[in-house]
Symmetry: C2
Subunit: 112 residues, 2 copies
């Protein structure tokens, strides 16, 4: 969505269009999983705001490939970016995507 | 969750605990569907902040039972409440739940 206002208007202000809802639902579905929510939170709160798989696997009783699958879903939905440096890919949260989801969910009483 | 601060701390500030992530993921999953996102938005932006199924079905090419199923998911996840008055149940958005999701997703740059 190119229009910044349209993209981030709270859903309580006016009905979402069907295409907006399809696009937003995809991103909400990506955070609708406990492992992915924790991964997002671990990456965002890690030193320097970035983390590699090596920093993340210890927090879960899950295999590397399972963690990688969840990171891929987060990446494809625009919630994180990954940058290869040497052996590892370093992940960072995309603050614009978080800001957009947060804005869409702003309740009526909190709209400026 | 009884502790208000703990419930709404942005996920970029500190890692979510596993139980927090399970609870939050359930609510995000509820909004991770285009029909439910549009229902939420239609209810919230309807006159007086409430709507009955009779106000909602016209916006979708879906049967009444399908709409009712999605309303049930929204209700069970605490995103809307329903109150029967006469023939119809009137739905309202729960602003506390929206506020909580919005707060959890607040990006680092926007934390007060």
């Amino acid at each position: 969505m190119s229009n910044q206002d349209e993209c981030c208007s709270p859903l309580v202000r006016e009905p979402l269009s069907a295409p907006q809802a399809v696009e937003l639902a995809r991103v909400f579905k990506a955070v609708g999983d406990p492992v992915r929510l924790r991964l997002l939170s671990l990456i965002a709160s890690h030193d320097g705001g970035e983390a590699c798989v090596c920093d993340l696997t210890g927090a879960f009783e899950l295999t590397g490939p399972t963690i990688s699958h969840h990171l891929k879903v987060l990446r494809e939905s625009g919630l994180i970016t990954g940058e290869r440096r040497g052996t590892w890919i370093y992940y960072r949260v995309q603050p614009e995507t978080l800001a957009r989801l947060s804005a869409v969910l702003t309740p009526a009483g909190a709209i400026a």
